[in-house]
């Protein structure tokens, strides 16, 4: 059964249709890659699922329950959490405190929230920097903290919006391992990423958005050979 399902999702900004009749579901334990040209509606889709935007029409179901119109904090409590493409850290706070903002979602007691946050910092390889102020860190580190804060909410589904942008090839390898580790914990993952090595490496299935529409979805091998995807997104060099 699908853990998360969007049915006939439409989102208009004034006259502009940012999402057109999107039907897309993700199975429990699946890693779904979401790709498409800049401005195709990928982040808008995340915003709609997680309650950051009120979509114009359509429905979203989580484990069979209708979560249409729920505000972000309720969606997060239910078990769906996301990262932000433009990082939304608390700049004046330490890494540990930022991650505690996530763990407070499950552990209202400060001590327990802290000990769970420390556990997540170890899991994400940030433990040795935990007392650094986030504002002083590089963008790549801040993205890792976003991922840590998201996992700290103990979600069942995570939506990752370009968490690997700005990493060099070696750092990308490390990030892929981290996402695989999160998946092994039992998480279902939807990942928006432009780095094709990442998408191809971790996705069980890939969905392609173009101009607000779901162009195609399928296994990675099929997607990279799809003529429409090559034209709209990948470019000629992907022609085998």
């Amino acid at each position: 059964m699908a853990i998360l399902e969007a049915k006939n999702l439409n989102m208009y900004f004034g006259e502009l249709a940012a999402l057109k009749d999107i039907n897309l579901s993700v199975e429990q334990g699946e890693i779904l890659g979401l790709i498409g040209p800049n401005g195709a509606g990928k982040t808008t889709f995340f915003n709609c699922i997680t309650g950051f935007l009120k979509y114009s029409s359509g429905e979203v179901f989580f484990k069979g329950r209708d979560i249409t119109g729920l505000p972000p904090h309720r969606v997060c409590h239910l078990g769906i959490c996301r990262t932000f493409q433009i990082v939304q850290s608390f700049h004046e706070m330490t890494i540990l405190e930022n991650v505690m903002m996530g763990s407070f979602c499950r552990y209202p007691n400060t001590k327990r929230a802290m000990s769970y946050a420390v556990e997540i910092l170890e899991f994400t390889g940030l433990a040795d920097k935990s007392d650094q102020i986030v504002g002083s860190l590089t963008l790549a580190d801040q993205k890792r903290i976003e991922l840590a804060r998201t996992i700290a909410t103990e979600p069942e589904v995570i939506l990752l919006d370009e968490v690997m942008a700005g990493l060099n090839p070696t750092e990308t390898e490390e990030a892929i391992e981290l996402i695989k580790k999160a998946h092994q914990k039992g998480l279902t993952i939807i990942v928006v990423e432009h780095v094709m090595e990442v998408i191809m490496n971790i996705s069980h299935r890939i969905a392609v958005f173009d101009s607000g529409e779901l162009l195609v979805d399928g296994v990675p091998e099929k997607i990279v050979r799809d003529e429409r995807v090559i034209q709209a997104y990948l470019g000629e060099e992907y022609h085998a």
Binding site: G36, P37, N38, G39, T138, A140, A165, T170
Partner: protein
């Protein structure tokens, strides 16, 4: 054109750059590569005056600039497109672009530059009258680069211009840099797409923990075992 001599930078007490020296000649395309936290963005910020060096000096067109405020450095012809797409959300795309040109003396030619930017990044033309806040992440990135170019700088400094762009667009942006250079603008770029960028640049510098540990022609660096192991995962 740009001479960075023995520059050290500290954030509070933490050393970020140590005795960094390099030069960019007029008309060159130069890259700085290295791991995250190596200090690459700090180099650009130090050149543009956003960060003050603790030691060393920076000369631009034979004039010392390291004590000048950022707006005076910008007026001398250095344009800095920082990482993170900092555009003006409440201004339209056109207004954002015009902000980039506000210090130009040849205001009559500004319209011409706008059209150049629109042909370079067609999506900006389409969205011309929309507010910055309505743009997607990748569109913001294109706007930030175009705004930097609107100043018609002598030296354009780009901090990870391909970040968050689709494969087609990211390739296009890196190759556009080559085109911009051919038209006479000197470019200093920080980029994580190491293979793509080193193929194009005249010279590359490898930064590790705040120090330049290797330098050479782009193609030579690509051949280096150290680069291949440390940055390309080969």
């Amino acid at each position: 054109m740009l001479n960075v001599k023995g520059v050290s930078v500290r954030y509070e007490l933490i050393p970020v750059l140590e005795d960094v020296s390099f030069a960019v000649e007029e008309g060159q395309f130069v890259a700085i590569v290295g791991a995250n936290s190596a200090g690459k963005s700090t180099i650009l910020k130090t050149v543009s005056g956003l960060v003050s060096p603790f030691e060393g000096s920076i000369e631009f067109l034979d004039e010392q600039i390291d004590k000048l405020p950022p707006y005076e450095i910008a007026a001398k012809g250095i344009s800095h497109v920082p990482e993170g797409r900092r555009i003006f959300d409440k201004l339209t795309i056109r207004e954002n672009l015009l902000v980039g040109a506000h210090m130009r003396e040849d205001q009559r030619e500004v319209e011409e530059s706008l059209q150049e930017m629109y042909s370079l990044f067609p999506i900006l033309k389409e969205r011309e009258s929309q507010k910055g806040e309505t743009l997607s992440g990748g569109e913001r990135q294109q706007l930030a680069i175009a705004r930097g170019l609107m100043a018609r700088p002598r030296l354009l400094m780009l901090d990870e211009p391909s970040l968050g762009l689709s494969p087609i667009l990211s390739n296009k942006v890196i190759h556009t840099c080559e085109e911009i250079r051919r038209k006479g603008t000197t470019i200093l770029i920080v980029e994580q797409k190491v293979t793509e960028v080193l193929k194009l640049v005249d010279r590359g510098y490898v930064l590790q923990r705040g120090q330049i540990i290797l330098e050479g022609k782009g193609e030579e660096l690509l051949e280096s075992d150290m680069i291949r192991k440390a940055y390309l995962g080969l």
